[in-house]
Amino acid sequence: MAMIKVDHLTKTFEGKNAVNNLSFELSPGKCVALLGPNGAGKTTTLRMLSGLLKPSSGTVSFEGMKEDGDIREHIGYLPQYPVFHNWMSGKEFLVYVGQLANLTKPQAIEQAEKYLDRVGIADAKNRRIGKYSGGMKQRLGIAQAMIHSPQLLMLDEPVSSLDPIGRRDVLNLMEELKAQTTILFSTHILSDAEEVSDDLLLMHQGEMVESGSIESLREKHQTTKIHLTFRENVDTYLNKLREIPSISEGYIERNEVQLLVADIDQARIDILAKASSEQWPLIKFEVSRVSLEELFMKVVNQ
């Protein structure tokens, strides 16, 4: 059952399609990464989903929402560079936006306290936001997005501006929030996506290139790689290896023979048989899977 349905969404800026004919669905309870290089149209997509931008064409529909309903009631959104009222304290700001999200004042205060604690800035709650560090602002940003317990939490590049520690904290926080709400976040860094998300939407130049669960994508683009290290004469062995029919491609990288194979079991038997009969000076035999990073690069460079 889809919670949010995006149908042929297109956004044109000055004659150029920033987002082109984008269609996808999000199921409840998932953490989905919107992955793509800079300029892929990720931010534009999130802004259309949050109602900040109007689609040039196409629709966004939310499950159970009336035709004239306000999508903003169901979503929480954190822009890439959140800007707050710097003269307010963190708590004041949360109570303010909580009330804007139709919470009563006592509810807003309760939620504010809860999320201040949850995102780990409770100590600074009465300090002016102007005095917050970048990481603290990012956490406050997540708290303000969660204040009205939205069904969908959208985060635009939530970790890209943070230092390694801040990044770790925010990723952990997202991991926790996953239990509570559906998360859609954009990133241009694959490892962040792999770390917390269940599903990937891969965007490039405004279009959806690939989508699915991380596992299914790995499987779909499955190629196995065998790394071989020899004591000497790497080149001769490479040539001999290339004669084996189960090996589709072979090359040398960092003094190591790398082989791409389709059928790993067959290839292993062939290679090891040959190595043992010809007494190759083999030092290392390692099997690895082609990473999503390579898939990402391949898709993007197409």
């Binding site: 931008l53 822009p79 004041e92 139709n102």
Partner: protein, 259 residues
């Protein structure tokens, strides 16, 4: 309504924190009393610095209390309006430019709620300042020039407040159109100047044009009765204010809240 109050209260808090509640009323007092006081003391000052050369006859025209109070209005129409435009040119534009609007308007806030609550907050600040400023001016006028009844003053405040409300509404309207406060300020001032030029050319034909509020107020003070023209002008001003708020909503709806 809850959200309206929330934004309104947030604006009030902001006005305390950035001292608008202190300096705007003070500035309105200064603007309002500047002219009546300096005019009263001008002959004495001239005297004190050595008087006029022999033979020169300097006749100060007798200034009536009404004329003195009208001086306040005339200064307010100049500097008061300038202060209002400058302090509210970022009312909405500033939030959109800085990016705070992106966080606020992604919450389920109606656009009209957002616009009208901010407009209302400015209104409260300006009306309060106007009342304090004109009360002070009235006190000095009574002291230096002669009596004006308190009832008359209330009427002056009410009708003149409509003019300042129109100024706030014009600025609010441009706030929804542009997100650079400087452009908002410039266009607001330009509009008010154009209106005043238009009024100077056509005032004898279109007596109900909002810019005539001041002169009708003067007539009211002189004659002691509110003319139909004053009421008519007030009504027209109110209609324009409502229309501007409506236009603000339409303009804002057509805007994208992020770029």
């Amino acid at each position: 309504m809850m959200q309206w109050k929330t934004i309104f209260k947030k604006e009030m808090l902001e006005y305390w924190r950035n001292f608008k509640w202190v300096w705007v009323p003070l500035v309105f007092i200064l603007i309002a009393i500047m002219d009546p006081i300096s005019t009263y003391y001008l002959p004495k000052i001239l005297d004190a610095v050595g008087g006029l050369p022999d033979g020169a006859v300097f006749e100060m025209p007798e200034i009536t209390p009404v004329a003195a109070l009208m001086m306040s209005l005339s200064e307010l129409s100049m500097f008061g309006v300038l202060v209002i435009v400058l302090m509210s040119m970022g009312l909405i534009a500033g939030e959109r430019k800085s990016g705070v609007a992106e966080l606020v308007l992604v919450k389920p806030v109606g656009y009209f709620t957002y616009i009208s609550s901010k407009w209302g907050a400015t209104l409260l600040l300006v009306w309060t300042s106007l009342i304090i400023g004109l009360l002070t001016s009235w006190y000095y006028v009574n002291l230096l020039y002669g009596d004006i009844s308190f009832g008359a003053l209330i009427q002056v405040i009410f009708f003149y407040g409509l003019w300042l409300t129109l100024v706030i509404s014009i600025t609010t309207f441009f706030n929804t159109l542009f997100k650079t406060p400087g452009i908002v300020g410039f266009l607001s001032i330009a509009t008010i100047i154009v209106m005043s030029i238009f009024n100077q050319i056509f005032s004898h034909k279109i007596t109900w044009f909002p810019n005539n509020l001041s002169s009708h107020i003067g007539d009211m003070l002189d004659s002691g009765s509110t003319s139909g023209e004053l009421w008519g002008t007030a009504l027209v001003t109110i209609i324009i204010i409502v229309a501007l708020l409506f236009a603000s909503l339409l303009a804002f709806r057509g805007k994208e809240m992020a770029n």
